[in-house]
């Protein structure tokens, strides 16, 4: 069984009919923030506020220019884990809707890695949900990230502050 065939990501661009209260995707190709948020906003007309966060590939890490970033996932765990996380956020922050999209594969600087959005009655809930989702995606989702800089690829591990950020929610 080839690794590739187990993966069934959908394109961000092709389908902008969002699925219900939680839209969770692993994407192999570009992540269009404008289209995604326009669709998410339209899908939740009754929400008082929509908060979002887009994480992008930075052009450098410390002094070294980053040439590329690669994200690996594990099909049986990664998407189900993200769906569970989105559901947790939806309940905890009484969200009208939640969007969690994560790129996989090889990305170049400036490209979007992750987009999360939360629609809620009040702004506090929407902003906190985005914070919660990002903290969990950063160090508790089944994704592995490496950067190509200097003489080769370097695996990234969550920093102590990422673990501390996660602990805030427990």
């Amino acid at each position: 069984m080839a690794r590739k065939s187990r993966c069934c990501p959908r394109s961000a661009v092709a389908r902008l009919a969002l699925s219900g209260a939680a839209d969770v995707r692993l994407l192999e190709a570009g992540l269009s923030v404008g289209e995604a948020l326009a669709a998410f906003n339209a899908a939740h007309p009754q929400a008082g506020g929509v908060a979002s966060f887009l994480g992008k590939v930075r052009p450098s890490a410390g002094d070294s220019p980053v040439k590329a970033l690669e994200l690996t996932h594990y099909e049986p765990l990664t998407l189900p884990g993200m769906e569970h996380l989105a559901e947790q956020a939806r309940k905890r922050f009484a969200l009208d809707g939640v969007l969690v999209w994560h790129r996989i594969g090889v990305l170049t600087p400036g490209e979007g890695i992750v987009l999360v959005a939360a629609a809620a009655r009040h702004r506090r809930g929407a902003l906190e949900a985005v914070d919660f989702l990002m903290d969990h995606l950063k160090s508790a989702a089944w994704l592995w990230k490496r950067e190509k800089r200097g003489i080769g690829w370097h695996w990234i591990e969550p920093r102590a502050e990422d673990h501390a950020a996660l602990a805030r929610w427990q």
Binding site: P76, L137, S139, A141, L143, W144, K145
Partner: protein, 80 residues
């Protein structure tokens, strides 16, 4: 049939392959033996998890993979 072992993230670099097969049934001791000393050392670390048949094991040393099941070796994650 057999058990498929899947290496994720940096463990894939250490293994030199993305996956390999091992005879079933596969328990913790046999897994450590199968992957060799360098990977075995990594697997014993608390922050490395093991999944079997799509479920992350609460106690990885209780691993018992049967014919046709997949065992995934999961190093510390980094998304976002």
């Amino acid at each position: 049939m057999a058990v498929r072992i899947v290496f994720l993230g940096p463990l894939r670099d250490l293994a030199g392959v993305a996956e390999r097969d091992a005879p079933a049934p596969l328990d913790w001791a046999t897994l450590l033996e199968t992957v060799g000393p360098q990977l075995a050392e990594q697997l014993r670390e608390e922050r490395v998890h093991v999944a079997c048949a799509g479920k992350v094991l609460a106690d990885k040393t209780a691993l018992l993979a049967r014919d046709g099941e997949e065992v995934a070796l999961l190093p510390p994650v980094s998304g976002g």
